[in-house]
């Protein structure tokens, strides 16, 4: 599903990722861990095409990134649900509208849209907050809205960048449980986190990054 072959990325002479090679198969749930600045976010950005690699080859869901036309980028992105580190929610819209946006982009009709948005909000326990505006929510609630938006379109891949960064341990456990449930339906999931508690005893594959190098792989 996701293949990196000798991939490097530099920002102004600073190396963010150095010759990274790994594969994630369809239906896997993989953790990417490392300290701040280790390259976790850059790695995810390369997958959802917010950045282009300087070297190496990337293949996502059968698409060769270097051969991709500009008009193919939105098509590929519609196969990927992303929980951004900074959430990227629209403050002037309600919770419902923020989650619905992912479906509106895909041209889903209003009736189906309503059902699916409420289903997603139910999964993240935010159905009662559907009419609230984003700036009325706590950080943890905003994070859960971002998760609901990422899962509502039923993508084949979900990328979560520090999905428990702003939540208490109980909510954090709930979010991981939710992502596990989604993964059980066959969705490939990559979770970038510096919180080791999330994958300890999970039995999941963990990729470790250190200053842009892939330094190891383990089972959590």
């Amino acid at each position: 599903m996701i293949h990196f072959q000798e991939v490097s990325k530099h920002y102004n002479n600073q190396t963010a990722l150095r010759k990274i090679t790994f594969s994630v198969e369809k239906g896997d749930l993989v953790f990417i861990t490392g300290q701040s600045g280790s390259g976790k976010t850059t790695l995810l950005k390369l997958i959802y095409l917010a950045e282009k690699p300087d070297e190496g080859n990337i293949s996502i869901a059968g698409w060769e990134i270097e051969k991709l036309k500009e008009s193919d980028i939105p098509v590929l992105r519609r196969n990927i649900g992303v929980v951004f580190q900074d959430f990227r929610l629209l403050n002037n819209r309600s919770v419902f509208e923020n989650v619905a946006l992912a479906l509106r982009i895909r041209g889903v009709n209003d009736k189906e849209l309503k059902i699916r948005v409420f289903e997603s909000l139910k999964i993240v326990n935010l159905r009662h907050r559907a009419d609230s505006y984003i700036d009325e929510l706590s950080g943890g609630e905003q994070q859960r809205v971002a998760i609901a938006r990422a899962i509502v379109s039923e993508p084949t891949i979900i990328l979560a960048d520090e999905p428990t960064g702003n939540v208490d341990p109980d909510t954090s456990t709930g979010i991981i449980r939710t992502l596990n449930d989604i993964n059980a339906r066959g969705v490939t999931i990559l979770i970038a986190t510096h919180n080791r508690e999330l994958f300890r005893h999970s039995g999941r594959r963990v990729l470790r990054l250190d200053h842009g190098d892939l330094t190891g792989e383990e089972i959590g």
Binding site: Y48, L49, A50, E70, I73, P74, V75, L76, R77, R78, N79, I80, V82, F84, R88, L90, N92, L101, A102, R104, I105, R106, G107, V108, N109, D110, R149
Partner: protein
């Protein structure tokens, strides 16, 4: 209904940014109104020009004691010219009668005349499309080569002045319309560009979620179209007010205003012109969206 979504976003943005949009609408309305008034003036100038050929004629004054054969030669040669529509021979006696009828109230001016001082003449009418200083000059030059014509008169300087004035007015009018149109497109461009920058982060999010260029562009194009259309509607109101409140009322008391032609059907296209200006400005403002 998914296709209504861009309209909802556009309406929300128009209401949210109501002051900047209102300012743009008023600017565009004023621009279209001035342009429409300019076009109205040009149209009336054109109508007046089209009436000119009906009244225009050239007078060929003939030499005295011309033979019938020479007269027929002049008549036939003149008729053969492709610019000529009709020729009419006016004997000097008839010319004097016409002169007398023209100066009916001051006939005493002619009392001292012992004999008819007027020459025989030929009145030449040109085809409507041929009336102009160049054709009249060329025809004069050709006809003066024929034996028997003493002088040709057609108000050369007047005709040249009128045509220069018309050409000048048309050129200035066209330049004005082009500049105003470009200005109005720029107003719409600036408005949409400002809104586009303000929503930069929102647009980036759209792109990252997989929105197509059409999905991102549509609300802005609709917003530009609405701004332009509203501007066009206001200008239509302005031009109709100008007609009914000013021109129509004045024409009842001042006959000069009766001569103004107001093509009311064409003015109904003003909102459409505004719509096109709005769409063009918005499309240029958004430009090419890159991923």
């Amino acid at each position: 209904m998914a296709f209504l979504y861009p309209f909802r976003v556009a309406v929300r943005s128009i209401l949210h940014e109501k002051w900047i949009n209102l300012l743009s609408i008023l600017t565009i309305a004023a621009g279209i109104l001035f342009t429409a008034i300019t076009v109205l003036c040009l149209y009336n100038g054109d109508v007046a020009t089209k009436k000119l050929p009906e009244k225009f004629s050239m007078m060929l004054y003939l030499k005295d004691n011309l033979s019938q054969e020479d007269l027929e030669n002049i008549m036939n040669t003149t008729k053969k010219d492709e610019a000529v529509k009709a020729v009419k021979y006016i004997p000097k006696d008839k010319a004097l009668e016409e002169l007398k009828s023209t100066v009916k109230d001051t006939e005493y001016i002619l009392d001292g005349l012992d004999e008819n001082p007027l020459p025989d003449s030929i009145e030449v009418k040109l085809k409507d499309e041929a009336v102009g200083p160049e054709t009249a000059k060329k025809l004069t030059s050709d006809l003066m080569k024929i034996n028997g014509i003493n002088e040709i008169e057609y108000g050369e300087k007047f005709l040249a002045s009128i045509y220069s004035l018309i050409v000048g007015m048309k050129s200035i009018g066209i330049i004005f319309v082009v500049i105003m149109s470009a200005g109005m497109i720029f107003v719409c461009y600036s408005t949409v560009k400002i809104l586009f920058y303000r929503k930069n982060r929102e647009i980036e999010t759209y792109k990252l979620l997989g929105a197509t260029r059409g999905f991102i562009r549509a609300p802005f194009i609709i917003e530009g179209a609405v701004i332009g259309f509203c501007g066009g509607l206001l200008s239509l109101g302005g031009i109709l007010s100008l007609y009914y409140i000013v021109i129509f009322r004045l024409s009842q008391t001042i006959p000069l205003f009766n001569a103004i032609v107001f093509p009311i059907n064409i003015s109904l296209f003003l909102p459409l012109a505004g719509l096109l200006i709005g769409i063009t400005g918005a499309a240029i403002a958004i430009g090419r969206i890159r991923y």
